[in-house]
Subunit: 556 residues, 2 copies
Amino acid sequence: MTIEQKHHQFQQYLSRKDSKRYLPAFWEHGPFPENLNKKLNLLDPKKQILLSSGVPNKELFSIKNISVNHTLDLGHENVGIPGDHVLTNTFHIGDESFSKHMSTKDKDYNSNVPIESVFEYADQTYGLSSTIELFNKLVTKFNYFREDILDNNQRKINYETIITSGTSASCFYLTQMLLDENKTILIEEFTYPVIIANVNMTDGHYAPFNLNMHATEENGQNPIDVEYLNTLLSNWDSFYPNKPYPTCLYTIPVQNPTGLVQSSEHRQEVYDICKKFNVLIIEDDPYGNILLTDEVNKVKDNEDKSPYNAFVNQKNDYLKKLESAASYLSIDTEGIVLRCESVSKVFAPGLRVGVIIANKFFIDRLKNIIECTTREISGPSMTMFNECCYGMDVLLKRQLQVDNIDRLDGWIQWLMNLSHRYKLRQDILLSSLYNTKAYKDKKLFECIEPKFGMFLCIKLNLETLKPQVLESSLSMQKCMQYMDYKLLEHNLSAIVGTKLSIDLDHSYKKSGFIRVTVAQATGKEQLQLAAHELGKAIEEFFDEYLTPSQEYEVLL
Amino acid sequence: MTIEQKHHQFQQYLSRKDSKRYLPAFWEHGPFPENLNKKLNLLDPKKQILLSSGVPNKELFSIKNISVNHTLDLGHENVGIPGDHVLTNTFHIGDESFSKHMSTKDKDYNSNVPIESVFEYADQTYGLSSTIELFNKLVTKFNYFREDILDNNQRKINYETIITSGTSASCFYLTQMLLDENKTILIEEFTYPVIIANVNMTDGHYAPFNLNMHATEENGQNPIDVEYLNTLLSNWDSFYPNKPYPTCLYTIPVQNPTGLVQSSEHRQEVYDICKKFNVLIIEDDPYGNILLTDEVNKVKDNEDKSPYNAFVNQKNDYLKKLESAASYLSIDTEGIVLRCESVSKVFAPGLRVGVIIANKFFIDRLKNIIECTTREISGPSMTMFNECCYGMDVLLKRQLQVDNIDRLDGWIQWLMNLSHRYKLRQDILLSSLYNTKAYKDKKLFECIEPKFGMFLCIKLNLETLKPQVLESSLSMQKCMQYMDYKLLEHNLSAIVGTKLSIDLDHSYKKSGFIRVTVAQATGKEQLQLAAHELGKAIEEFFDEYLTPSQEYEVLL
């Protein structure tokens, strides 16, 4: 199929409103007759005098330069306590002569970024070219398209990257593009509920697809219930006689809230079904680079290696592990995958920088939506991310005491360090949880041990110990509300499963879990305390709920 | 009328979709029974362990601190050349111990802003509390509500402020809130066309209202043709039988593109009509603080005054002048004004920080839209703006060599300096334009001399010299396309009036102008060159167009 045919085929996925989103290009000139065109081509574009748009000249900006101190070093064994000697790098954005605090020897890394490129309107409403370029380099670095396979290398040229102000904005744009009253999106039965608000705004429909909560790395089962998905799409009208046939599917492959991870093989199974039924896949993956295994960061057989060789070993290990749960893009022969990423979980949520990677047809439509809606993204945010990312290389070279490394290896080291910290946090919480009376003696819960990400799912053993709450959606909702009361009573803020279901009538039997994250806790001591209190809250819940000692009436 | 009655009445202005925008508050807890509530109130909220949301702990951020050098000093007479001794202030965000370049004596102003408040999720999706607080202080400082009048002081408490990622985003949210297929918005016949894209997305309708292009400061005429507006709203069905009756009006009071300014009296006239016909007013005012008069910055009778007293004099002058063209909020007895501001033109567009001030009913609905769509705004952008704004006070104190000034006087000095620069730029362009042969000898054009803002409107004398182009919308479009060809041939990028009209059939007779801005030019020399080339381009246009010497065929 030619690109044109393909694009014609993609047209059917668009919201009927898409063609109404149109910004008259008042800033454009032309069309030009031939003889004028020739003349204009002879002019020096650098000498053009710009009287057209209200872009303040750089002399009119108060901020003359910005210096940023950042690190690659996240400390080592003691969660929450940074190492004694934190190696930092300083970079400077803007005119050096305005920085009083700088001498030549201080200059670690000069970004060469003029201040106006941060504070003027960006060169594009969908992100600074420099930031897009950086993400394209990372796509190559992480080998999203498996360029080692010839076909995929060819395929890559049909994709494009745009920057957004985070995945919330991305999901908003995507649902605006793809949904209307005649379209349905499939969503994992438990999810991050903002997507529902996005869908409702479009008048579109949604329906859940099932998770397999028993999938583990050991048993190798797919965390997506692919059998259900296949049956659902084969017999749509019998499941949902009043909803239009689905045109897209939304998945968080390192699942929020359950922490279940789709391996590359699992994604292939889901992809094959979507391909068969002409369903687009929105892959929302903010956690994919946080790898929770011990092996990568352990020095194995590395004693006789140089720091540089040890790093290369670790890097190869890390990249190989990521490849075992590779993006849907890596298998997207049909151009039906739209991938969302974010720097929120791997750099800083306050920056508001996210990314969409998809085929050019959809990216063009997204650019148009951005033009017509929110337009630009923060210049300081984008530039700080760029410069930090490149600055990580300076830090890594210093750390490894070498002059040359592969470009952006510093970013990989950062991600490995970050993964290590999350793994440490996870280990502390898990081992403390497994030490509680509630677990050890009473078997009141079990945990889904995630291999990626920052969430942990504590499944209550309701089937055996409180089977009556499984009778209806309402009884489950009440039960988990009581669980939440007990958590709050122990001064714990967590989220119970019933609040993360998109259709409780569909999913209530599986909703007996608590989602916790290790990201926010202050350190080791607090994580241990959290586990202890979680254990007690769960014990009290089982002791009290629906017994004479139930302390509180449940309000919904 | 009580607030409740008022809110009930406001309900009618909302888009029918507004109630569909709803985010399930999965992060909230409760409702609680009484006995639990009592218990929870006894707990220490600071000791609550947060396991609920994926907010990375501050130890997981790479950036440890940010130092910013900024100035209040924009140089004096030579546009484009900063003064020799630019006074700068440095502030630091985050942990000082990570900044290698700092010694105690370097510390001009310590922001006391911890790094996590920049890089974590913000405390609200509609802006950091600290930034909202700052804008509220500015509202008081600039006396938007004319608090000197008792009633208005009372009125103020019904209003609220939210932060957005700029006025483009604000206008997108506002149109989403207010428009659907059953609603019409009135828009100035010439405007910044992004609003049209916003409106189209909602299925809403729009219609132009007329500008009075002959209004000047001297003749005191209202730049809004209030007679037309009144007639239009009194006889809507005869003007637009197929469009719903208007529910809101969009105005740029320091008009883009014409540069026409609505004084306080003019706004009262427009307000009275809108009030009478139950029409909301969206006031989009990014230029209102850029005051283009000589007087403020001139030292008059100040020779014998201290620098501090001279500043106070200038400040009072400046504020008085602003009051002569005060916000619609100052007269908004009905709560029907929604005001948009932006820091783009007075600080830096790349920051992406804008503001909406409106009554609480509408602000609540806007907060909900933000929750359901784009969510948060850049932390570094908001914090840098806050700290620069407060840092201006440090600079001003140093400049005036006093220990105390009124808080945020520094920001006023900044705005006065900026106004002065724009005025200088404007003067250079205008005096050079008035010196061209095209103006002096041939009277080919006249200029609207703006008293605020950054735009300048060059009206071509088509009525006398090319009356045939006034015959139809098409002939005007072709004529101005030829004008654009001539501008481009002279390596000038400007925007011709026909491209800024929202309904050319309605406005073609007034479209014979060129919008230029002085913001973007590099300096004095370039502005003089621009005027020279503008003059030549206009001469050639009149010499050639529709004569045998016409060089190019016109393509549309």
